[in-house]
Symmetry: C2
Subunit: 345 residues, 2 copies
């Protein structure tokens, strides 16, 4: 094994291997590439492989890639998943599925810089990745970098407005409905909802729609006073819960559009001397375990299925890599958000 | 711009570019590589570049790499930073520093699988990354994969026992001392400490050592009853705080060895009807902002300087890439853990 001191030496070449064994370079090449019908004796083959090992000879990767068109690598471009604590399981799901298919996942985190995204895709194309995944840290609409269209690609936790690329996203509306129904099934009829501040174009995809659908299916009129807009963080969860509890007819249950909001709701309810879930039930969303599993009582919440999105995308890419064209129209997959019951409902 | 439908076509070659412009392949090559003194007219140069753009011609990356020995890429191998919510800022710091030096950071997350780590390094070596960073999600001793020694490399948030590679780690002992001194300076003399369960070989590097040093510097005898071992999570923080508060002479301040532990300590103190910091002051460690910034009151804590470690490592690699050998002995850098004051002390 080469150690630091060896670094000044040039890397060994195929000629070095041939010289060590006393055979031609062609023979070495045939052995390394498993060329059928090359009539090389088992003994020679073994001696070549031994020399390869002894010299730490590494075939030129790019040449190999060009020849076989297989880099055994899938590119993964993300705005900020690798650096933020929100959606790491997308990477985990993709990583595990890729590795179990003998592929490496090459990740580039762009810090939401379009220049980096384009350079990253370019670099990946040059290195002939077999496909590229493009993932965001939260569900959003994206404009894919133009060069993403030059390779089989799939969008994760995001989609493009013209649906020109396949995508996988969580079923937000279904999740919002499920969360609300969990509370309604327990008999709650005054259900508060602390929503996130969404951009207008995402309105149709938000959990609030599911909340409304669930109420309607139970014949409960929608009361706008029960809906407050939070901040995505505990700060808004705290202040908006205080506001909800000031209502003349306050809620007996609160659906918080994310777990961080629920963290603040817990503080507000506890300060008011209210018990969770006896006085007020709480359900979150996201199952951000570092919070949800460790609040007291444990927070019942909905999982975003990040791991499954990562898995699905790799499976999709591997099953489509043989085809030259993406199926038309490109698949737009939604993944269910399952309930994770703990003790807050 | 090539669209999905174009995928079935072979990629354009330099010959295609030459044919479109009506010049030789050598001329195209000279233009693309900015060869000085090649006597190519500005007009021809422009026509070549236009054709390159029109055809979406991409020079063979590997050939380019071999010629210039510059892939403009730095490899980043990690056990699980990309998928866990603990140390993402190491990637952020490295990413920002790399990009500001025109380098891409190619990340592989190994899920702590040594096979993936070795394959990842191999793939990076084949693609001639300029250097490799090897990072762990928490401070630990590692056995670097043997092939990591074949390229300039640096360890982040970890180190190897024989110190044969440069490393950058947080100054845990100094941080433990600082955290304790913050409490002592406020007049506290009974300071509880909820530690993490460390592996024996890490004992010399832990925050507990700093806690002891700080007490000694204030002439306060070390009282083992004030030290409890938590679980790294809120669960241990909760139960061990209850234990500490049962002492005949309970602490007036608690140093929690991480913010998750402090999250549980808050719950215990609030349940006991105690006010933070009036009755009991709390200081955390890690500045895991999703928790520390949103607890009520905001948690005073120490930052792990993940961002700075990432930055430092890239700077170190870039400033050493010209040298063939790592300086002997390889630099073992520690980075200070600064106090982040909020409202809990």
């Amino acid at each position: 094994m080469a150690r630091p001191g060896d670094r000044s030496k040039r890397p060994p070449t195929m000629t070095d291997v041939a010289r060590m064994v006393g055979v031609s370079q062609t023979t070495v090449s045939f052995v390394l590439n498993n060329v059928a019908g090359s009539n090389i004796s088992e003994e020679t083959r073994e001696r070549v492989l031994e020399a390869v090992k002894k010299l730490s000879y590494r075939p030129n990767a790019a040449a190999k890639v060009l020849r076989t068109s297989k880099s055994h690598t899938i590119g993964f471009i993300t705005d900020d998943i690798a650096t933020t604590p929100f959606a790491g399981n997308i990477i985990k799901g993709a990583q595990d599925m890729a590795w179990s298919n003998d592929k490496l996942l090459m990740i580039i985190n762009t810090s939401n810089n379009p220049e980096i995204a384009e350079a990253a895709i370019e670099m990946m194309l040059e290195r002939q990745v077999e496909a590229i995944m493009y993932a965001t840290w939260r569900h959003m609409i994206v404009e894919p970098p133009p060069n993403l269209y030059e390779v089989p690609a799939v969008l994760l936790d995001c989609f493009c407005a013209d649906r020109s690329l396949p995508s996988v996203v969580p079923d937000e509306v279904g999740g919002g409905r499920t969360a609300t129904e969990v509370l309604l099934r327990e008999g709650h009829r005054r259900v508060g909802y602390i929503t996130l501040a969404y951009r207008p174009e995402m309105q149709a995809f938000v959990r609030l729609e599911g909340y409304k659908t669930a109420l309607a299916s139970y014949g409960i009129p929608f009361d706008p006073a029960l809906v407050r807009t939070g901040t995505s963080t505990a700060v808004g969860g705290y202040s908006e819960t205080l506001e909800l509890m000031k209502l003349p007819d306050p809620p007996t249950a609160i659906f918080c559009a994310n777990d961080r909001t629920a963290m603040g709701a817990y503080d507000a309810l506890k300060e008011l001397g209210l018990s969770i879930p006896r006085d007020v039930a709480v359900i979150g969303f996201d199952n951000q375990e570092i919070i949800s599993a460790f609040l007291r009582p444990g927070l019942s919440t909905l999982a975003l299925s990040h791991y499954q999105m990562g898995q699905w995308a790799v499976e999709y890419l591997l099953s489509h890599r043989g085809t030259q064209e993406i199926s038309e129209p490109p698949e737009q997959k939604t993944i269910e958000c399952p309930v994770v019951m703990r003790e807050s409902v």
